[in-house]
């Protein structure tokens, strides 16, 4: 029963991604445009001033494209994309960019979760009044747009370099030397703040429960109660918010890749998606499929552990 439900969910989500990713074919006459572009790039056509096209609503082309996508997905996955007057295969090139991006994303999510846990423990040891102050600070940081934080960090590093000639971290990707430390730090700040906010909420909730009172009554120290008892119960609620955190991090990743000039999946989309919408569809599928299975597996594991089961 559960398996069928998960399968329909999965298929519906894939359908959603395909429907979304093919919309350009609904609105624009992509084939014709690419032909023209090819002529321009081969210098067969020197002037495009006489060309005019209006927005269209071509349902046939739209569904045809989705059909083609599904067929190619199920058979040989030989997708192609247009680049400087020629068609190139999308795979396995895309996988390299994808893996690079995921390296940054996973590393910073891990760092984000770990630092959020430490932060939460520390904040939970505070008095109530101070806790409110910290929460307000967290609110302000959380409200800052990612573009600001990332820009500011990079700018500070450059400024320090200009003033003192000390390179704290490699700032941008250049000449084959990838920048790792600074991007990962940048990428983990906002998720860390975000996770801390949720953890605090559930930690404080658990704090008021009878078992905590009981544990305190038995003479356990505050830290013991926190780390051993509250932590185990509170961490599960993080799963409820994980999808939001993931989405949030993806948005940060996009800003990061562009500002730091990292050629990952988002930069690849920026460079090629305007002519090849399939690049976006396939990238989203690459992000979505592993995430979905991991998430479902974890939620099954958790609901087995928790008495009564939780439906995540």
């Amino acid at each position: 029963m559960k398996i069928t439900r998960l399968t329909t969910n999965f298929l519906l989500l894939v359908a959603g991604i395909l429907l979304m990713g093919s919309i350009p074919f609904l609105m624009f006459d992509m084939e014709r445009q690419i032909t023209i572009l090819k002529m321009v790039e081969k210098k067969e056509l020197s002037n495009t001033l006489f060309l005019y096209d209006s927005l269209q609503f071509n349902v046939d082309a739209y569904f045809n494209h989705i059909k083609e996508l599904i067929i190619t997905l199920l058979t040989d996955q030989r997708f192609e994309y247009y680049k400087s007057a020629e068609f190139h295969p999308i795979f396995p090139e895309l996988l390299d960019y994808y893996l690079l991006s995921m390296k940054y994303l996973i590393m910073s999510l891990l760092i984000g979760i770990i630092s959020a846990l430490f932060l939460t423990f520390i904040i939970m040891l505070f008095q109530n009044r101070n806790r409110e102050k910290v929460k307000q600070l967290l609110f302000v940081i959380e409200s800052l747009p990612d573009i600001f934080l990332i820009f500011l960090l990079q700018f500070t590093i450059i400024w320090i370099y200009k003033k003192t000639d000390i390179v704290l971290f490699q700032v941008v990707n250049s000449f084959g030397k990838p920048a790792y430390v600074l991007p990962v730090i940048c990428l983990s700040i906002l998720p860390a703040v975000y996770i801390t906010k949720y953890l605090l909420l559930s930690f404080e909730e658990e704090e008021g429960k009878p078992y905590v009172e009981m544990a305190k009554g038995k003479g356990l120290t505050r830290l013991q109660v926190l780390v051993v008892h509250i932590f185990r119960n509170a961490i599960i609620t993080l799963m409820f918010h994980f999808k939001t955190i993931f989405w949030f991090s993806l948005s940060n990743l996009f800003v990061l890749e562009i500002i730091f000039n990292i050629y990952g999946i988002m930069t690849h989309i920026k460079t090629h998606a305007s002519i090849n919408p399939d690049v976006v569809t396939l990238s989203i599928l690459l992000i979505f499929i592993p995430y979905y299975f991991l998430f479902q597996a974890t939620s099954v594991m958790i609901s087995r552990k928790v008495k009564g089961g939780i439906n995540l």
Partner: protein
């Protein structure tokens, strides 16, 4: 409503936005000298060149200047009314449409409703800006020769509105659903209240604050989207193509300039020279940040005010625990924060 202005964070954010827009209008209307021509090169008394635009931040140019020699600060002030105004307008349309769509989804049979929810969930696997880029870039960037300025503008505005509809309408649908589950709805129906009566008298008082919160949050979201789209070379203000230089092979070097000094456009045009002239980028990013911060303060104020108002009736504290107990949280659950992303 009066209580709302007593919320410090709301008042603070509100005053900031009002002040910003007022100054922007006053500047364009009265202070700005229409005959002032920006100087790309500055001379001293002996006609020697002392500086070439863009100028670094100094006393005359508080946030530096752009490549034409115009002060970044005045550009930002001029652009404020377009940027904030557009964000407010688009947010209003977004909320209105998603309310209609949300209600339409609500009256569908439960089975179909759940399917639609899952389908729309596909949205969570890429940033909104990427979806916007997917739909806009063929017309605005790749094949821009084929489409005129007007259809580009309509397309951009349409896409920015439409992008939020799936998530927002599902959120509104859930709100309506949860209100209809309350006991007094049943009582009202038993006493002979018509659907319209129930909706206006019993549902809308609960729904309206939620919609107001959503509206304020959406303004912030749209501003963030403007900034993100600028990173992808898409600006709402429309780009004026200008020939800057001719390179060694005789090709024209063309850069796009935003017409209305809309902030996204200001980011876009200073993007290429970020390493050499960082202040050109710093100004617009700072402006975006302060405005988004103000909007978020307003949203926090409205949420707090709404909680206090509701507190007069039965105090209902929504925590993750109550969520867990009352409704199974499905994979597709969208909470308020998520909606605001």
């Amino acid at each position: 409503m009066r209580g709302l202005f007593k919320e410090k964070s709301f008042l603070f954010g509100f005053l900031f936005i009002v002040l910003l827009v007022t100054i922007s209008f006053l500047y364009t209307g009265f202070i700005k000298d229409p005959n002032y021509e920006p100087k790309a090169v500055l001379y001293n008394e002996n006609q020697e060149i002392i500086a070439k635009a863009p100028y670094a931040p100094s006393k005359d140019f508080l946030l530096g200047s752009d490549k034409e020699g115009k002060s970044v600060l005045t550009n930002l002030i001029e652009g404020a009314k377009y940027t904030v105004g557009l964000a407010v307008l688009l947010s209003l349309v977004r909320v209105l449409f998603s309310f209609i769509l949300g209600y339409l989804i609500f009256i569908l049979p439960r089975k179909i409703r759940e399917k639609i929810e899952t389908l729309f969930d596909a949205y969570h696997y890429a940033p909104t800006a990427i979806f916007a880029y997917l739909l806009l870039s063929p017309a605005v960037i790749a094949f821009s020769w084929s489409y005129d300025e007007k259809s580009k503008l309509i397309l951009t505005i349409g896409v920015i509105i439409a992008l939020a509809l799936p998530i927002l309408s599902i959120y509104i649908m859930r709100e309506i659903e949860s209100i209809f589950k309350m006991e007094f709805i049943e009582s009202s129906r038993l006493m002979g209240g018509s659907s319209l009566h129930i909706f206006l008298k019993h549902v809308s008082p609960f729904l309206l604050p939620k919609i107001v919160i959503m509206f304020v949050q959406q303004v912030g979201q749209i501003l963030t989207l403007f900034a993100h789209l600028a990173l992808l070379d898409i600006f709402i203000g429309g780009g004026k193509q200008m020939v800057m230089d001719i390179d060694l092979e005789g090709n024209l070097v063309i850069e796009s300039f935003s017409l209305s000094s809309e902030w996204g456009g200001l980011i876009g045009k200073s993007w290429g020279s970020f390493m050499t002239y960082p202040w050109m980028l710093f100004g617009p990013i700072l402006a975006f940040t302060l405005t988004i911060l103000a909007i978020n303060f307003m949203a926090a104020g409205v949420i707090k005010w709404n909680q206090n108002e509701n507190g007069k009736v039965p105090p209902k504290k929504v925590t993750s625990e109550t969520l867990k107990m009352n409704q199974p949280i499905s994979f597709n659950r969208i909470n308020a924060k998520e909606m605001s992303q």
